[in-house]
């Protein structure tokens, strides 16, 4: 029985590690590095799920990992010893007709030893734990501030004008993908517009809740350019499962390019094009909530009126994703669906660090656009992502909905809007 348990229940800890370490040790002829080798092996073998918590890609996550793998190892060893002892006892002392055993009531010396021993192990674990807690809370060494705001069920990232981040002259607002300079300590200022969410990019750092009315600080650091998956991890209502995010780290140079592009002035679509019709459809249907910076209408008399979104009149959180540069990000609707086709997405995700930036900065080209999901979304968003977006579900909130309602657009209008959005790059 105990053997069965060793195999099944501690599979993620020691027996697996040692088995794997043996194999890897042979392959890599690593000798004399038993403990470190086992941990490396575990990290090296588990490179599959993008949210794997054992593959740190930045300083903070690395600090956590350096602390946690020895703890897992110790816990695993203790577990194997305890279970092995139990297995020995139940086999050795099973009833085989022996006489009634001696009625021993305990051995205080033995028990005190067996109490002090785990206490000592825990002191050994506790000291680095406490130092790491304080190291991780350090924020004085950050060089770039990004405000992160959670709401049902997407993330907004805004970059205040600052000297940090290589200098930002005017605020940048984006969503879905957190773009940050690689190899730089970035300070995230986390908050929420409605309920509690939790910001988590496992490869870069542990999670931190975003609480309405509070600002929490989280230091982020990515070693190399690349894309890192994450997800909201505090239960936040109906579409909690659909509240994802990705962090994108770019080299300093590429980050400059990205910033410049985000601050580029609005380029209206060519007159008479499909996109120009799309602009009209967009203003008529989308612009109530979704801001496109620089978008304006021109009256017959030549008066130019900027088109300003008023999401607080329609949605509970009072915000909707800014679409000015939608096609520079690869995802939409809370990073739940890709704007890229699967093939194009694969290319970006699998790009080596040195090629990643150029590939990412291409954004979503017409050939790469994932028409299927985007069309479905524009056609009937609540059917695709559960939201309280029907007027009947807004009784308790003074008519405000949560999430994007179905707009009742026809296929022609959808074609036009997609053509328009494709130019938001």
């Amino acid at each position: 029985m105990a053997h069965r348990n060793i195999n099944m229940a501690t599979v993620r800890t020691v027996p697996h590690m040692t088995r794997m370490s043996r194999r890897m040790t042979r392959r890599r002829t690593l000798t004399g590095l038993g403990v470190a080798g086992a941990a490396l092996a575990l990290a090296g073998c588990a490179q599959d799920a993008p949210q794997d918590t054992w593959q740190p890609k930045g300083d903070n996550a690395q600090m956590i990992h350096d602390l946690q793998w020895p703890v897992f190892l110790i816990a695993g060893i203790v577990g194997v010893i305890v279970i092995a002892v139990i297995a020995y006892v139940i086999v050795r002392y099973r009833d085989t007709g022996q006489p009634m055993p001696e009625q021993t009531h305990g051995k205080p010396a033995l028990e005190i030893t067996l109490t002090i021993l785990p206490a000592l192990i825990l002191v050994g674990v506790g000291i680095p734990t406490v130092t790491t807690i304080f190291e991780l809370a350090e924020t004085d060494d950050t060089e770039c501030i990004i405000n992160v705001t959670g709401q049902q069920w997407w993330w907004e990232y805004d970059y205040p004008a600052q000297d940090g981040c290589g200098g930002i002259s005017a605020p940048i607002v984006t969503s879905g993908q957190l773009v940050m300079p690689a190899d730089t300590n970035v300070l995230l200022r986390l908050t929420s517009r409605d309920v509690i969410h939790s910001f988590w990019i496992p490869a870069l750092n542990g999670k931190k809740d975003t609480v309405p009315g509070r600002v929490h600080l989280l230091r982020m650091h990515a070693n190399e350019p690349g894309i890192y998956a994450g997800q909201c991890t505090e239960f936040c209502g109906l579409s909690h499962a659909n509240m994802k995010m990705e962090a994108v780290a770019l080299s300093a140079e590429d980050f400059e390019t990205w910033k410049a592009n985000q601050l580029e002035a609005y380029t209206p679509p060519e007159a008479g094009s499909l996109a120009a019709l799309g602009e009209q459809a967009y203003i008529a249907n989308c612009a109530y909530c979704h801001q496109v910076n620089g978008l304006s209408t021109t009256a017959p008399d030549g008066t130019v009126t900027p088109v300003l979104a008023n999401p607080d009149q329609f949605v509970v959180s009072g915000a909707a994703p800014n679409l000015t540069h939608l096609m520079t990000r690869n995802t939409f609707a809370g990073a739940t669906w890709d704007l890229l086709t699967p093939e194009c997405r694969e290319r970006v995700w699998n790009a080596p660090p040195e090629e990643f930036g150029a590939l990412y900065l291409q954004g979503v080209t017409p050939e790469c656009l994932n028409q299927v999901d985007l069309r479905e979304w524009i056609r009937n968003a609540p059917a695709k992502k559960p939201m309280y977006a029907l007027p009947s579900q807004a009784a308790n909130s003074g008519g405000l909905v949560r999430g994007m309602p179905a707009l009742g657009l026809n296929e022609t209008q959808i074609d036009q809007i997609i053509a328009y959005l494709l130019e938001r790059n």
């Binding site: 021993t104 067996l114 406490v130 509690i196 890709d338």
Partner: protein
């Protein structure tokens, strides 16, 4: 004291329940037709009973019903997650399902099932004839049933609670959770909380005041000790959740703003309140399981519990330190590094007394003569599973590591190894061990072993892979998972989610076999013989009486001389050679006890009031949700029941009974001897 020993001379019954002189206000005079429901057969004997054994069995039956419900909810969750983009449940229904799965399992299964064991066994283990406050005991049970049913009616009244069992604010506020589900949750738990609180006071008084002569605290059976610790935890934890639930109710139903950010509140207040209750609750859930195996392991190892004092004090230590670790549920909530460091260290501290228990259980078996009955298998299963759960607990006592693990399936794996592996396996060990005591028949051992192995395999298949899924980054409480984030290698989410789902059904079949076993043992044409008096060669007082025990438990309250009193009456230990000789059988010991049984035993009489009072509470609760008038109606019933209760003597008057049956004698003596 509840047990009234009527003096041998026919003096008036001393009334304690506050009615003044019983000669003036007797029940028949006071209420006319409302006589005491004294019948000892039929459904009335159950519904109006104040007998701790009947209440214990009823707690067990209802808790088992809710266990099945919570299990079905779990299976639906696993069906949804068996493949990517599951569509078995809608997003809303999925959220209701995991909220109610946790709520049901914690509040309506594990806690009341532990109450079932405590109720049934504590008076028997300490040599008492009932609990200190029998009517309050009945009231507690009916509150549990009333609250549990009330809570579950929400399924049919617009949807169950959907905020997770922790019901974080503001997600569970009316704006973000517009159905009445959360109202049902808050009010339902408020009512079941009354059961826990009254039960705790009752058992504390019982254990401290009603032990058999000679049973000092350090001669108390370990089960009773651990249950005592649990009752103190309940006594101090329940008021916290009561306050929290009241704040939540006022927020949702009466427009208060305790957690409303717009009104300047901080929603973290709710988290602190919830977890100051919630963490002691973890020990409230798991210590009864520990209590049970601490009885089962010594019996089937044929040795006393190793380091009884250590186990007692480590249990008490868990009870104390358990209050200082609540914020480890909030390591990611932005507490600041000082708080996180303190709670991280405190959490490591609590691993020490918990480790002591594992060590003592193992050393109890060491050098023993181990018999692998089903009860013993479950007990060993608990020790192994809880070891795994405890060690994964240490990995997230390390707060930075926890910020990677919290709210992922790794945590789900951890607490199912502790709660299922710790509490539930313990409860099943208890079922098999004490079944003959409560029902006079041994459960089938062959079916029992199938029951055990299927549960054990199913449990490890279900919760084992969740370690992997969680470390691979799958968060909890998501209605689906996607291929895009599943990975492809050995640790891919797809494969291990499927394994977990298959495992959950194996686990369910295991549990189902327990029900089959009950049916098999008790079916009409069952050839299962009556259980022997002392089927396991047990060590404690509850076995020095008939199985099932008479209504008054003991003809003569035994006098206690030693820890493991029963064992020491059966066996003589030669302290020089360590040899153990049997000197008496259980039958001989019981016969000797019964020969000198007490002549006049008067038990507290059944009463209408507990059930009336308890079922008035959901009426008020429906009133809070639907119509304030109902609050008044329910309130009036509560008032009436409280007066009726207060004016009712604890022992029925002669006039409450039917005239003597033909052939002389009356049925008034609930427990005549000789």
């Amino acid at each position: 004291m509840a047990i009234i020993e009527r003096p041998t001379d026919p003096a008036p019954v001393p009334a304690v329940a506050g009615s003044g002189a019983p000669a003036v206000v007797t029940p028949s005079q006071a209420y006319g037709v409302l006589r005491r429901p004294v019948s000892s057969t039929g459904w009335r004997s159950w519904v109006f009973t104040v007998d701790h054994k009947k209440l214990g069995i009823m707690y067990g039956v209802v808790a088992m019903f809710f266990f099945i419900m919570g299990g079905i909810e779990a299976l639906l969750i696993r069906l949804q997650l068996a493949g990517p983009e599951g569509t078995v449940l809608s997003a809303g229904l999925y959220n209701e399902m995991f909220t109610m799965h946790a709520t049901t399992m914690v509040f309506l299964f594990v806690m009341p099932m532990a109450a079932a064991f405590a109720n049934y066994l504590i008076p028997l283990q300490i040599g008492a004839r009932d609990v200190a406050f029998p009517r309050i005991n009945a009231f507690g049970f009916w509150c549990f049933l009333a609250g549990g049913l009330f809570l579950n009616t929400s399924w049919f009244l617009g949807g169950a609670a959907d905020g997770g069992w922790f019901m974080y604010q503001p997600n569970a506020s009316p704006l973000y959770s517009p159905t009445n589900g959360v109202d049902f949750w808050a009010l339902g738990l408020q009512i079941t909380g009354i059961a826990s609180l009254t039960g705790a006071i009752n058992l504390i008084v019982t254990i401290l005041n009603m032990r058999a002569p000679g049973m000092t605290l350090m001669k108390m059976p370990i089960f009773t000790w651990m249950i005592l610790v649990v009752q103190f935890l309940l006594l101090f934890a329940m008021p916290v959740i009561t306050v929290a639930l009241f704040l939540l109710m006022f927020q949702r139903s009466f427009g208060a703003t305790f957690f409303d950010v717009a009104a300047g509140a901080d929603p973290l207040l709710w988290q602190h309140l919830f977890w100051i209750f919630g963490h002691p609750e973890v020990y409230i859930i798991v210590l009864p399981g520990f209590a049970i195996v601490s009885e089962v392991l010594p019996v089937f190892s044929r040795k006393p519990l190793f380091g009884y004092r250590f186990v007692v004090f480590s249990g008490a230590a868990i009870g104390f330190v358990g209050w200082g670790v609540w914020a480890h549920h909030m390591f990611a909530s932005g507490l600041g590094p000082v708080s996180v460091a303190v709670f991280s260290v405190a959490t490591m501290l609590i691993a020490i007394p918990t480790g002591v228990k594992i060590v003592n259980w193992t050393l109890t078996m060491w050098g023993g003569k181990i018999q692998f009955t089903t009860a013993m298998l479950f007990a060993v299963g608990l020790v192994v599973s809880f070891t795994i759960g405890g060690l994964s607990g240490v990995t997230h006592a390390v707060a930075p590591s926890d910020t990677q693990q919290t709210d992922t399936y790794y945590i789900v794996a951890h607490f199912h190894y502790t709660i299922f592996g710790g509490a539930v396996l313990g409860l099943f060990a208890g079922f098999y061990y004490w079944w003959p005591k409560a029902f006079g028949k041994l459960l089938n051992e062959k079916l029992g072993k199938w029951n055990f192995w299927l549960m054990m395999i199913g449990m490890n298949m279900t919760f084992g892979p969740m370690h992997i899924i969680g470390l691979q980054g799958q968060p909890r409480r998501m209605m689906n998972w996607t291929e895009a984030r599943a990975g492809e290698g050995f640790f891919n989410l797809g494969f291990w989610n499927r394994v977990a789902s298959v495992g959950s059904f194996i686990l369910a079949i295991g549990v189902f076999l327990f029900l089959v076993n009950i049916w098999y043992t008790h079916r009409a044409k069952s050839n299962t013989p009556k259980a022997p008096l002392d089927p396991w060669d047990a060590r404690t007082l509850e076995w020095i009486t008939q199985s099932p025990p008479k209504e008054h438990n003991f003809d003569k309250v035994p006098t206690v001389h030693a820890l493991d009193e029963f064992f020491h009456r059966k066996y003589e230990v030669d302290h020089e050679t360590g040899e153990v000789r049997k000197v008496a059988t259980a039958e001989e010991i019981l016969a000797a006890e019964e020969a000198q049984g007490d002549k006049h035993i008067h038990l507290p009489s059944p009463s209408y009031w507990p059930i009336i009072l308890a079922f008035a509470l959901p009426v008020m609760a429906y009133g809070v949700i639907y119509n304030r008038l109902l609050i008044v109606v329910g309130g009036l019933i509560v008032l009436l029941a409280m007066f009726g209760w207060a004016l009712e003597p604890s022992v029925a008057d002669d006039s409450d009974y039917d005239p003597p049956a033909e052939g002389g004698g009356t049925n008034k003596e609930l427990a005549t001897i000789g």
